[in-house]
């Protein structure tokens, strides 16, 4: 049975003023997050993956596989996992990229579990994202950056990966057409699809695990928007279950890393005997994963990284637009 | 050794968008030939110092280009490059050419046109004169690399930024009086301290401007100049070159000192003089801290005290040795390939007595130019003497 041996998380230290960003683009309404966690000009999903991965690997057995998940790799047509493995000093690890949608971190965790169930060295799953949009119509998708990492193995862990369940439907809520630079969003479709598919996945997990949703000590969910967390409440998840793992209202949406940070926050607060529910959502697919904590987790205090250093609008603009400059 | 300085020429040092690199070369070269009373056909070899024409001006082969436009074809011509020490290297090769006996009359010319590109582009091209691929890849630039040396110097000798600011005050005093200088304003210690930070602790008035300029000398065998007693009898009497580390990370204060102290000592021995005999000095100071370091290396002050002369007057026009009466690179700017040759031209003017009155050291007989380059990679020392009536 697959276990979580170690974990790590990394949030960039800078916080951009979402209210001012919206105002600059002439968008009405209250900002849905206090600030956006913004990587500095010299950071990107690879460097954030390195930070989270290094933290998860500190003092641990070297993994034989590195699985990278990102919707925004710094380069296309290349394997993020291969470069990440080299940067982590694991040139001989098997590099695998799993990706494509915001819930893919849980796909990667399931894959890592399958690869290591029979024994052998553990597998490192790292998820890192920073979706940047230059078109003002998507400024309300709360684009922020961050990373999380999980070392998964057949034994030696503090938590077991229990049953999982999925529910999916064909829907266009967040997508990118071919090689277009800009993601496309339909927020109302997102809210509806999130609510219905997560509800269905939760119900399916209840059936598979014979454990009611209310019995989980925490729900660690993908959170593209605060409204999606409220949809979970209507699906039977209590506010207490979301309390310690909700961050989108503080620092924005971390894309595929969202569920990773939520799970790290949940593990930090868990004790032996707790069950956590990791809930990933993306592209019309909801994945519900039971995580049984069997020993006190090696906590990393991910919550301490939520607070950051304020940057002004011009710095945010320079750091997000600047990295898109043409090679000179 | 004695190499005769037959003629000198230079252009103003300033932004000159209306002139091309070759325009500046021709202006300085013709000026030197006219001053020497020679025709292009008399120049048997041409040494052209230029560092960055490929980057700044999108052209290469500066030596060959200059040979054509100066009219010295079919004589020998070549481009010389050794980072910021380039002009001094051109001078060294010109001296070696004369001393070898292979040539009677040669021209040494330095040129650089740095303002054809925006400052940030120019800075990146200048960085290529250091290890831009590896060390400067780390975010260092020339100003920040030298800033590290300034901080080390201040810490080692317990100095303040005000102590170092006097150097800029002195250089600007004379730069304001030099019609060929890029910057021509005086400043106080307070104004130096208030000037914009460039790379902590270096401030704007402690770094040189990027400028466009050319300067040239016509050199000849001793006998040729002796045979023209009506000409000023100024000779190059020593030329000594050295290298140091290519990496700022390896450059200690001891290395910075040795880079100039070793060739200076050899030069003094070569000319049979000591540092006490020097009347005027041109000391490379693209960044202000390099002047105190050079003063110490040339033997004008103990280590850690080279900064004092600017504060107490001993390196001003009437002091024990007058340093950078031209305004130094701080005011002239640092046209990479021309700096070394302009230093030579400025010392020759001092020894001839033809500098503007308020920057002319009275009775200057012996001068020295100290040029350096790269993070700490090249050092060059030349001695010059006015030798009237000797055989």
């Amino acid at each position: 049975m697959a276990e979580i041996i170690r974990y790590g998380a990394y949030l960039p230290r800078y916080r951009a003023p979402l209210g001012e960003i919206q105002s600059f683009y002439g968008r009405p309404g209250r900002p849905r997050a206090k600030a956006l966690a913004t990587p500095a000009l010299d950071e990107d999903p690879l460097t954030m993956a390195y930070e989270a991965g290094s933290a998860a690997l500190a003092g641990a057995e070297a993994p034989g596989t590195v699985i990278a998940v990102s919707q925004s790799p710094p380069f296309g047509l290349r394997k993020l996992s291969a470069t990440l493995a080299r940067a982590l000093g694991l040139p001989d690890a098997l590099p695998l990229d799993v990706g494509g949608h915001p819930g893919a971190a849980l796909d990667a965790v399931e894959l890592a579990g399958a690869l290591t169930a029979a024994g052998g060295p553990p597998a490192l799953v790292v998820v890192a994202d920073h979706l940047v949009s230059h078109d003002e119509r998507v400024v309300d998708t709360l684009s922020a950056g961050g990373a999380a990492a999980f070392l998964i193995g057949g034994s030696g862990g503090f938590a077991r990966l229990g049953p999982s369940a999925r529910a999916r439907r064909e829907v266009y809520d967040v997508w990118r057409l071919g090689t277009e630079p800009e993601p496309r969003y339909r927020l109302e479709v997102l809210f509806d699809a999130y609510a219905t598919t997560t509800g269905a996945a939760l119900a399916a997990l209840e059936a598979a695990s014979e454990r009611p949703t209310s019995a989980y000590s925490a729900v660690c969910a993908s959170q593209p928007h605060p409204q999606t967390l409220r949809a979970l409440e209507r699906a039977g998840v209590s506010a207490e279950q979301l309390q310690g793992t909700s961050f989108v209202g503080e620092i924005g949406n971390l894309g595929a890393a969202s569920v990773g940070l939520a799970l790290a926050l949940g593990l930090d607060r868990a004790s032996a005997g707790d069950h956590l529910l990791a809930l990933g959502y993306g592209a019309g697919e909801a994945i519900a994963q039971d995580v049984e904590v069997t020993a006190a987790p090696p906590a990393i205090d991910a919550a301490a990284q939520l607070a950051g250093e304020a940057i002004d609008l011009s710095t945010y603009y320079r750091w997000t637009r600047g990295r898109q400059a043409e090679p000179h | 050794m004695r190499v005769g300085v037959l003629g000198i020429g230079k252009t103003p040092h300033k932004i000159q968008h209306g002139k091309s690199l070759r325009d500046l070369v021709v202006e300085a070269g013709r000026g030197a030939m006219a001053d020497a009373g020679v025709a292009p056909a008399d120049i048997q070899a041409l040494y052209v110092g230029n560092v960055g024409s490929v980057g700044f001006n999108y052209e290469n082969s500066t030596g060959l280009m200059s040979a054509h436009h100066l009219g010295v074809v079919p004589s020998a011509a070549v481009r010389v490059e050794a980072a910021c020490g380039t002009g001094a290297w051109a001078l060294h090769l010109g001296c070696v050419a004369i001393l070898s006996g292979l040539y009677d009359t040669v021209m040494v010319l330095g040129c650089e046109k740095m303002n054809d590109l925006a400052t940030v582009e120019g800075t990146s091209i200048i960085a290529q004169a250091a290890d831009s691929k590896e060390e400067y890849f780390s975010g260092l630039t020339f100003p920040s690399g030298v800033a590290l040396t300034a901080r080390k110097y201040m810490q080692t000798y317990g100095l303040s930024e005000e102590d170092l600011a006097h150097t800029s005050v002195k250089n600007h005093h004379y730069g304001a009086r030099n019609p060929y200088a890029h910057l021509r304003f005086e400043c106080t210690v307070e104004e130096v301290m208030r000037s914009a930070k460039v790379a902590d602790p270096l401030k704007l008035y402690e770094v040189c401007p990027m400028t466009d300029a050319s300067s040239a000398l016509v050199l000849c065998r001793e006998e040729i100049l002796r045979a023209q007693p009506d000409r000023p009898q100024v000779y190059v009497t020593a030329t000594q070159m050295a290298t140091g580390t290519w990496y700022a990370a390896s450059d200690t204060l001891a290395d910075a000192h040795e880079l100039l102290a070793a060739p200076a000592q050899r030069a003094y021995e070569m000319a049979g003089i000591s540092s006490a005999d020097i009347d005027v000095a041109e000391i490379y100071n693209s960044f202000a801290i390099q002047e105190p370091l050079g003063i110490e290396a040339l033997g004008f002050a103990p280590q850690g005290e080279g900064w004092k002369g600017a504060a107490d007057g001993s390196t001003w026009i009437d002091g024990a040795v007058a340093v950078n009466l031209s305004g130094g690179l701080l005011c002239k700017g640092h046209p990479l390939g021309a700096t070394g040759s302009t230093q030579a031209v400025d010392i020759v003017e001092q020894l001839r007595g033809t500098a503007p009155p308020d920057m002319q050291r009275p009775d200057a007989e012996i001068g020295i130019s100290a040029c350096r380059g790269g993070p700490g990679a090249v050092g060059a020392i030349h001695l010059y003497q006015r030798l009237e009536g000797e055989s």
């Binding site: 460097t47 390195y50 | 630039t141 790379a199 990370a249």
Partner: protein
């Protein structure tokens, strides 16, 4: 102005990890660019040695006028770091206000983007962050 992709392959991959060059003749550890020649003894037998990543800021400056590749990051701290293994490394120190570093600050290496190359290749390298942990308690880098 484009540069051949060969330059990237010569310089790019080694920078993903922090290393220095150990001289086989005199044992002195040289910075990572000394592939050919030991500056201490003149020997030519130099091998790569990975560094643990910890060191002390032995000198620094604050750059206000950056080169092209660092535009947008100014003012930034760039310094000389004396690594625990004894070799001096030049590198930026990030994630800290310039007023908050001083000579003697302990730092540790991490991966950062250095620049977008001339042909769109991304150069990664090592920058340093302030190390708040007690050195004795700091955990080793993954092997």
């Amino acid at each position: 102005m484009t540069v051949s992709a060969i330059e990237f392959s010569r310089l790019g991959p080694p920078k993903l990890r922090l290393y220095a060059m150990r001289c086989g003749s005199c044992g002195v550890l040289q910075p990572w660019w000394e592939h050919h020649h030991c500056y201490a003894c003149g020997g030519s037998d130099l091998t790569e040695q990975e560094l643990a990543g910890g060191g002390e800021l032995s000198n620094y400056t604050v750059v206000y006028y950056p080169p092209r590749d660092f535009l947008g990051q100014e003012p930034y701290v760039v310094g000389h770091i004396t690594m625990d293994e004894g070799v001096l490394m030049p590198a930026p120190v990030v994630g800290v206000a310039p007023d908050d570093v001083r000579v003697g600050t302990r730092v540790k290496a991490t991966l950062r983007r250095m620049k977008l190359g001339h042909e769109g290749d991304i150069y990664y390298s090592q920058k340093f962050v302030v190390d708040d942990e007690d050195p004795a308690a700091a955990q080793a880098q993954p092997v």
